[in-house]
């Protein structure tokens, strides 16, 4: 352990109200800490900035999964294990269950949270592409009140997001996408090994098929841009398209290649990420044809 634990101050409030008051009273002082699965890696390496951390992991108001007819609402502190094992999520939002299953090891899944995954804002996170593809909404809470924003657009730049000082992510509302209504789900996480790998490319797409065509489609990429990427060009190429259109394959490939902004880093190359993004977009089209 390269960090000196004496240089850190951690406070763990018992209620959400208490936490929000602390954040409001001393703006910019506190860094919220949920499961800590990202922060503790930095801590071990001696790279976590010293200072004051607000442990919100125990706040009961931010936990749990509720289901209504249209959507599943997931408390920000719901763990990957809870998401992975949830029956309705597995049935109607299988990409979220799969993302949870493929994030880290079991110990990380027991500790890491969906809200933490969003707020850590890593472009390599595995859940955000699925949230983009499902058109999720975030409820944000502060001492001043609550507001709801679409997840698409929440991340504004590398590690930047539409989260105001004093604000915490309260919950994530995800519209249900049952197969019975024509929804097709396609998720691929690409790491160098089968499990316990950080994504080099992550692809999540969800489309509603109707009458041989694509009625509605949303696609998110991970690890190919400074933030989770909303694949608007790919969505545009597919929306309203006929699946038997012979030119569709080339259009899909070109759109994917055009819109990813991948880089070389310690885990992979820009060339690899771009090529695999294109391959997965085409594989998604093939899956739509097979499922349509």
């Amino acid at each position: 352990m390269r960090a000196n634990v004496a240089s850190y101050d951690v406070v763990a409030p018992e209620t959400l109200a208490e936490a929000l008051t602390l954040l409001a009273d001393e703006p910019g002082v506190w860094t919220p800490m949920a499961g800590g699965t990202d922060l503790m890696v930095l801590f071990e390496a001696g790279k976590l900035p010293t200072g004051r951390y607000l442990s919100i992991h125990g706040l009961p108001e931010l936990r749990g999964i509720t289901v209504d007819d249209d959507a599943v609402t997931i408390g920000a502190l719901t763990t990957y294990s809870e998401i992975r094992d949830h029956a309705v999520i597995n049935a109607d939002l299988p990409m979220l269950a799969q993302a949870a299953r493929e994030t880290g090891a079991l110990a990380i899944q027991n500790r890491g949270t969906l809200g933490g995954n969003i707020a850590n804002a890593s472009p390599a996170a595995d859940s955000p592409p699925a949230l983009v593809a499902y058109g999720a909404e975030l409820t944000l809470v502060s001492a001043a009140g609550t507001r709801t924003v679409p997840y698409r657009g929440f991340h504004t730049g590398y590690k930047q997001m539409d989260l105001r000082p004093g604000e915490l992510i309260h919950s994530i509302r995800v519209p249900r996408r049952p197969a019975s209504e024509g929804w097709v789900h396609f998720y691929r996480k690409v790491g160098t090994r089968a499990y316990q790998a950080i994504s080099k490319v992550c692809f999540a797409a969800c489309a509603r098929l109707s009458d041989g065509g694509v009625a509605e489609v949303r696609v998110g990429f991970g690890s190919v841009a400074p933030t989770v990427l909303i694949a608007s060009a790919l969505e545009a190429a597919l929306t309203g398209a006929r699946l038997d259109d012979a030119g569709l394959e080339a259009a899909v490939a070109a759109a994917a290649r055009h819109e990813v902004a991948a880089i070389d880093d310690i885990r992979s190359t820009a060339r690899y990420r771009t090529q695999v993004s294109e391959n997965l977009a085409v594989a998604f089209l093939h899956a739509l044809r097979a499922g349509g």
Partner: protein, 752 residues
């Protein structure tokens, strides 16, 4: 076979390990102990101008050691004395130790280290083997060559001039590989003038550390004591580097006036600073008849030794001797060189140079087969060494081996013919984006030290009989997870005709055990195990000669005899010493003769899937057929094969060191990817056991053999699956993509 040899008896230390009772070095706390840390260079090469300490840190609370504090000689005693314990004026790699700090509170050390600055005037650095060979920048001697070996057999040039041969050429490369033992390295030292030096730690070779500490402190042998603590894996990685950590911990303790100092590496430091498998480059030029008979092999083999010579010469030696493989070829030439670069020194890792040269050869054998239109298994079958044939070093194979039968067995277990046909049909369908393939390798691995090495080592093993007839094996061979304690106890119990429970193995401690040589080179079972057997038999003779033991005896009668002997003479302890088997003649000057007393032999087959969307290769089945002589403990032997294959799967398709200016940039387990259980297929292990006359109960070595064959077999299988040749291990998805794209643009150009 005795009562225990040949049985999968439980591990001696197994229960302690799985219940957490074993104490690893970081579990040990001594009174008044303080903690050490290492300050390293950050540039690959340069002149040290000075060291600066930032103000604001209470430096008077720290013990600070530099090269100036060394009481003896600042050199790590190994083969060539070129590596300092602490760099004094020149930096030769980016993780070189320069200064040591110690403090009672371990939590303040990492931050304090950030406040020490080593000012360096950079010098041009060299990282690639070919650049080192070109010697535009000279790092070592006048040509950067640490060591060169030449092997010559027959007349290679005349053979290449024949008009009935096809000449096949190829170049093959392998990358560095981290041992990734589960326990990072560490040491505790107590050292003070007048009191000598004692170290406890995670290590493979107690007498190597002992040898290194004597000149460092200018002390006689009896004032240096090295004790191995329970060790969480080594794989060669703890062969030489522990000498440096032991020296560092001891230097801090010495300067602190004898206070115990603990120096433990975290994973990031262990990955960046300690030795890895040597990167390699092998060029093959082979003359072969059209029906596949090898006529001449011309091999140029090169290793990146890193910044200091360390063990590179011996790693190179093993790679050289294995470079022509288990094939009959009348004419052979191998030119082998280990070169200096500005990487941290590369070192021992399971296989020790053989996996590198065998990788080149077994990929090249597939290329020859493809060139001639002969099936790869058939090409090998036509050239396999048999009893009475000679190797490239002109050693006559006297073991009764049948490698062809092992190959046939492997082909049949793998379902080779049926699967090859099914995969070809599967791959032809463009709708199948996951392609399948199979590949094989046939190979051998010499057991024990090369040539006259064992004679020079002159290993000694003792057995002591104590109260109640309890016997203790005294050897410097270490248990590092591979089963030394268990194997030695089985061999001794059978030789003594005593229950397994009455035999134990002493903790390796240079104050108590004789030098039975290093725990390396697949020698522990075959060479040291035989000495255990000899010592045990000699102990029985001693009791019989004293008239205390009859021809047949019970454990109780043995105990009574021991008690009587001890009463009369004091201690009952006997030693055995290594004797070279007859007919082992090795010419070190010409690199010719019997390189090893015995070899392990093997035929391995890998089955892979390559996902053409993600370019990831996954091993889906693995068949490992080998002859390692008599099995002392079948479960442990199979475990060695499974572990070796898994480690080689990592080397083949997962593990890439990301070098940046000579420093490992991905020095975290998150970014240096080793396979997990989800990436390793069922490994199907089969033994053909031909006893080796001079091994204990006929056993040979096993530890390294399984590391040699899998990587080329896997890359052969990848080529079978996708029709694209990859000639560098590891073949990461990025590499496979580049090779596939290059092949498809070439074929478009060709057809277009």
């Amino acid at each position: 076979m005795g009562k225990y040899v040949g049985q999968s008896v439980p591990r001696k230390e197994g229960v302690d390990k799985v219940t957490g009772r074993s104490l690893y070095v970081d579990d040990i706390v001594l009174d008044g102990m303080i903690h050490g840390i290492t300050v390293r260079s950050s540039v690959p090469r340069g002149k040290i101008l000075g060291v600066r300490f930032d103000p604001g840190v209470p430096w008077d609370e720290f013990v600070i050691v530099t090269a100036k504090d060394i009481p003896g000689r600042n050199v790590v005693a190994m083969l060539i004395e070129d590596q300092p314990f602490l760099a004094d004026d020149v930096i030769r790699h980016p993780d070189e130790p320069v200064l040591l700090l110690a403090h009672p509170d371990k939590h303040v050390l990492a931050e304090a280290r950030e406040h020490v600055h080593i000012d360096v005037e950079p010098l041009p650095a060299v990282f690639a083997i070919e650049d080192a060979l070109r010697a535009d920048t000279v790092l070592f001697g006048d040509d950067n060559v640490f060591k060169r070996f030449d092997v010559s057999k027959g007349d290679v040039d005349a053979a290449f001039a024949r008009d009935d041969v096809v000449i096949v050429e190829g170049t093959y490369e392998t990358g560095a590989q981290e041992q990734m033992y589960i326990e990072p390295m560490g040491m505790i030292a107590v050292a003070a003038p007048g009191q000598g030096v004692t170290v406890w730690g995670s290590l493979q070779c107690p007498y190597y550390v002992h040898k290194a500490l004597k000149p460092l402190f200018d002390l006689p042998a009896e004032q240096v004591r090295v004790v191995q603590t329970v060790t969480g894996g080594g794989f060669g990685g703890k062969e030489e580097y522990p000498s440096i950590i032991a020296g560092h911990a001891a230097l801090l303790s010495w300067k602190a006036g004898g206070v115990p100092v603990k120096l433990i590496y975290d994973r990031a430091e262990d990955l960046a600073a300690t030795t890895k498998r040597h990167p390699s480059r092998t060029r093959h030029r082979t003359a072969v008849t059209r029906d596949g008979e090898l006529v001449a092999m011309d091999v140029d083999f090169a290793l990146d030794g890193g910044a200091y010579a360390t063990l590179s010469a011996v790693v190179l030696s093993r790679g050289t001797i294995h470079a022509c493989g288990p094939y009959r070829c009348p004419n052979a030439r191998v030119v082998a060189r280990a070169v200096a670069t500005n990487h941290p020194p590369h070192g021992a890792f399971r296989g020790f140079g053989a996996p590198q040269s065998i990788f080149g050869l077994e990929r090249h054998m597939d290329k020859i087969a493809r060139t001639l239109g002969i099936a790869p298994e058939e090409l090998r079958r036509r050239n396999l060494l048999a009893t009475g044939d000679t190797t490239a070093t002109s050693q006559v194979i006297e073991e009764a081996i049948d490698l062809g039968a092992m190959l046939d067995d492997a082909l049949s277990q793998a379902g080779w013919a049926e699967k090859k046909a099914a995969f070809a049909a599967h791959n032809a369908d463009p709708a199948n984006t996951v392609k399948k393939g199979m590949g094989l390798a046939t190979f051998f691995h010499g057991s024990g030290f090369t040539g006259s090495g064992e004679v020079y080592l002159a290993s000694v093993v003792g057995i002591e009989a104590g109260p109640g007839g309890r016997c203790t094996v005294l050897a410097a061979s270490t248990e590092i997870g591979q089963g030394t304690n268990t194997i030695f106890s089985q061999i001794a119990a059978d030789a003594l005709r005593l229950p397994y429970e009455l035999v134990e193995v002493a903790q390796p401690d240079t104050a108590r055990v004789p030098d039975s040589g290093p725990t390396v080179a697949s020698r522990t079972t075959m060479v040291v195990g035989r000495l255990v057997q000899d010592a045990a038999e000699s102990l029985i003779h001693t009791l019989r000669d004293a008239g205390l033991l009859g021809a047949d005896y019970s454990a109780e009668q043995f105990a009574a005899a021991v008690d009587a002997y001890r009463e009369r003479f004091g201690t009952l302890r006997v030693y055995s010493k290594y004797k070279q088997p007859p007919g082992i003649v090795w010419d070190d000057k010409h690199y010719r003769g019997a390189a090893y007393a015995a070899y392990g032999w093997a035929a391995y087959i890998a089955e892979v899937e390559v996902d053409t969307l993600t370019y990831a290769a996954r091993v889906t089945d693995f068949v490992a057929v080998q002859d390692i002589g008599t099995l002392i403990n079948p479960l442990l032997a199979a475990g060695q094969v499974e572990g070796g294959v898994a480690q080689a799967i990592g080397w083949a398709v997962y593990e890439g060191v990301d070098w940046r200016d000579g420093h490992m940039a991905n020095n975290q387990m998150t970014n240096y990817i080793i396979p997990t259980a989800a990436d390793v297929p069922p490994i199907r292990v089969y033994f053909h056991s031909v006893p080796f006359k001079y091994g204990p109960s006929g056993a040979k070595g096993v530890g390294e053999l399984p590391m040699d064959g899998p990587a080329p077999a896997i890359l052969n299988a990848i080529e079978d699956a996708i029709g694209v040749s990859l000639n560098r291990a590891p073949a990461l998805p990025e590499d496979i993509m580049e090779a596939m794209l290059a092949a498809s643009s070439q074929s478009e150009a060709h057809h277009g």
